[in-house]
Symmetry: C2
Subunit: 523 residues, 2 copies
């Protein structure tokens, strides 16, 4: 028996299995056979200790059904690790070793806050967030899920917001593919577009055991998180939300804590996970500020990898200056101004500003879901040029009532096509991230690299004219420096190189909205 065979054997005996190698920022999973009797979710524990040269992590595992317990670990360093598993789960103490290999080409690690207002993957690669929202795409049919993944693959999106709990709301009256708890839901055939608001929160007819999770529900979500990971998309998990008829939004403190710990034990080891404590936290009327701070404390204690954490509002913002909040996740408060307020929010919170909800492209009756593609793309550019990030969503009526914003599927709109160009332009930023130049003209948005805000070196300017339609603009930086100029039609997705200029120069523009001018110092 050679060394390799021995290792393999070591880790596949006595009711325990663990892979032998894992890549850095991958998921190392230890699977243990334990007791299935009673209620393992609340009566049993399992915990893992992972020791490498540069980190020593103690992490909680979870019960995955059929007597199986799992402990997951995301290593942040390469090299040899040892582990030990223990707890009352019924399988005794287990141990082993594994090797952490270099990350594969597309694996840049988890996303972190890089320089106060922007993000980068842990390996230093800038991450320019282009988000979309599909609240319960993962709880639809297999066919729909495949269609959504195919759509995402061809999109510019690198973040998607979605819920762990099913959703009950306008256009969301059907049954999810699974429930997070054992039990049975109310009869949804009584629901109509007219009466659904009478069935909210804890409604009669639901019989769920809120101490017994359905592992299949979570296993499925894990598969979806991994599918997103393959596409380079961050999973911005909405852990709580108010669009409920089953009572999941009105659980007790103890039930909530059990849920949060289970979620954290299952999902924390996936590098592309972000925590969104809630969608529209203020609509969860049974929850107090103390409750939210309590959930945050659980995350901070149990997520040892420090994934990004935020909380999304309906009307009043949560106070984003709380230290546990890594970035502002904002739903706009004003019908007319959204991305235009990024400067203000940056200054107020000194954190990355992510506009997760600034109205969706679509044509439904609700004002949050019926702006034009042009307007949504304009809001994206306004956000980016002011040093923030915007989020997409689509709510076009269709015969099947399949709206991207909730169900995923196909994109019917026009805005998403324009986000590829925006992402390309963002990636051309020297350093990480843009911000609005402090001496910007009142009738333009002039973006410069974030690190030049305090000390401009005249290296790079991105001017955006939004809804204005100038037929020319004049520029002057100094008498000597030579700049090359691109004129970008952000809606028609065309960039035109205009040549090299210095001194005072004039750039002709087509006199229509949504134009940008990119000015780069010649090297």
């Amino acid at each position: 028996m050679n060394e390799n065979q021995k290792e393999k054997k070591d880790q596949n005996i006595d009711g325990m299995f663990c892979q032998k190698t894992v890549e850095k920022w991958g998921v190392l999973e230890v699977v243990c056979q334990g007791e299935a009797g009673g209620n393992p979710f609340i009566e049993r524990t399992i915990r893992g200790y992972f020791d490498g040269k540069q980190e020593h992590i103690a992490v909680e595992g979870f019960y995955d059904g059929n007597g199986v317990y799992k402990v997951r670990f995301m290593p942040s360093f390469e090299g040899r690790y040892a582990f030990r598993i223990e707890g009352t789960y019924g399988g005794g103490i287990q141990s082993g070793v594994f090797e952490v290999t270099a990350p594969s080409a597309e694996n840049h690690g988890p996303v972190r806050v890089a320089n106060t207002y922007h993000f980068a993957y842990e390996d230093g690669t800038p991450y320019y967030s282009i988000g979309t929202t599909c609240y319960v795409w993962e709880l639809q049919s297999e066919e729909r899920i495949s269609e959504t993944l195919e759509t995402l693959k061809n999109s510019a999106f690198n973040k998607i917001r979605f819920c762990i709990f099913p959703k009950h709301y306008d256009y969301n009256l059907g049954e999810p593919r699974s429930y997070p708890y054992e039990g049975s839901p109310m009869d949804s055939s009584v629901l109509t577009k007219e009466n659904f608001l009478e069935y909210t929160g804890k409604t009669e007819g639901n019989h769920f055991d809120l101490t017994r999770f359905c592992p299949e529900h979570f296993q499925h979500i894990e598969r979806c998180i991994l599918e997103l990971q393959k596409l380079g998309i961050e999973a911005d998990l909405i852990v709580m939300h108010p669009y409920d008829r089953w009572g999941f939004s009105q659980m007790t403190k103890e039930q909530d804590a059990l849920y949060w710990k289970y979620v954290l034990a299952r999902f924390s080891a996936y590098r592309n996970v972000w925590w969104s404590l809630a969608n529209e936290y203020d609509l969860l009327e049974h929850k107090t500020l103390e409750d939210w701070e309590g959930y945050a404390a659980i995350i901070c204690e149990k997520d040892l990898y420090h994934h990004l954490r935020s909380i999304h509002n309906c009307r009043p913002f949560y106070d984003h200056s709380h230290p546990w909040i890594t970035h502002c996740s904002i739903q706009r408060q004003d019908l007319y101004k959204s991305a235009e307020l990024v400067n203000e929010w940056r200054e107020r919170y000194r954190k990355p500003v992510v506009l997760d909800e600034i109205a969706y492209e679509g044509n439904i009756q609700h004002g949050w879901g019926n702006i034009s593609g042009e307007e949504l793309v304009r809001r994206f550019w306004e956000a980016v040029c002011r040093g923030g990030y915007a989020g997409h969503g689509e709510t076009y009526m269709n015969p099947d009532d399949v709206l991207w914003w909730s169900h995923g599927g196909k994109l019917l709109g026009e805005s998403h096509k324009r986000l590829h160009l925006l992402l390309e332009i963002m990636k051309e930023t020297p350093g990480i991230g843009l911000c609005q130049y402090e001496n910007c003209g009142w009738d333009e948005v002039c973006a410069v690299p974030e690190q030049e805000f305090m000390k401009p070196v005249k290296s790079y300017y991105l001017y955006y004219y939004s809804f204005m339609c100038p037929s020319f603009r004049e520029f002057y930086f100094d008498d000597e420096t030579e700049f090359e100029v691109n004129v970008i039609d952000t809606w028609e997705m065309a960039a035109e190189w205009r040549g090299v200029f210095h001194g005072k120069f004039r750039i002709a523009l087509p006199g229509k909205p949504y134009m940008a001018v990119q000015i780069r110092k010649l090297r």
Copy 2:
């Protein structure tokens, strides 16, 4: 000699002429021959007393050159009047009588504030302001002036803002057709688009006698005011402004007072005159709040007909709560929100809100002059549905540098065509003026008749969806009332009658921006 002949003779003798009849709200002018020597503008006086059954008015006249003095009077009542002229003008005491006849069909009298937030002519006819700005249209060539009048005739405009002084600014470097004072201007051939800002205010090379007016300059403006009157257009006269190279914006207190009194003596009797104390008052850096209040005091003393009075800002608003201010004349302060703030301004000032400058349709480099036609029309509708009034302007580049905003001429844009429909809709309002219903939804602008704000009678609703693109909207007022519904495409200028509805009803919409729904109780 019969009575008529005697009257005629009485009023055309001894160096005095006065017409025998005038219509109510017309201009009765007494022309007297006096002394031409010295400086009649400052050394001579002339004053008229006009006595009818219901009014007794003492008004100052003015020197009109060549030894001619004039006193003008606008009667507000029908019937017989007597008048007497006196002063040091050199023609002694003159007197006579005249008959005030009924107003002609198109003469509704001066515009007044009707019900706190709206306007009506003195005869009670509602006046729905659709303004435009052509700062010095009247100081252009005869050909251009004719062209402007022809354009106005075919437009929906019923108010135009323009200056008494000539204008020096970007696109305004040429000589005006005349100057308000005797003397000679600087050589304008030195001016270029690059250097013109170096020639501002009191510039060397100008030699004007600021105590001697050029009557021809004012006579010409009077002809223009009368031409506008024939077209049913109010003349919103901008009496002072900062776009100056001749020194007219930096006169002494005494020179200013002389100017204001001359302007008031000449123009007050024209029923379609409004007083705009200044354009961008805050850019007249040599004027103090005390100066402005002083000019206002002169108007209030000398304009016995109480024409509308306002003052227009660049950045900070003048405090529109001053009692002499009849309505807010607003330049928007925010790049993104303008007409959307009408509600706020109504509440703050409790006066009509007229948005005289909310950016112009055009394609020049300046952000105040390059919004699309769609955006300008959207701002008009937002203003109107919130109980205010908007103003138009056009700044399209063209080979002759003739921009409507300053020079008049032809309109090249698209917004003006849409204002006819808006005016028609405004005229359909029961009572005078609209306001936003206090229980309006957050994602719509719901206008109701002003008088129903406090006590809705479900008579009339005008919903506007602005940039939003709903494909349907649902309505419910009560179970019984029958309403007829029109769907209005404010951009395509199409109105479609959709039938009669009651109870809860759903109106299909095309899922594009700029739609309105007009809902009227069936009689």
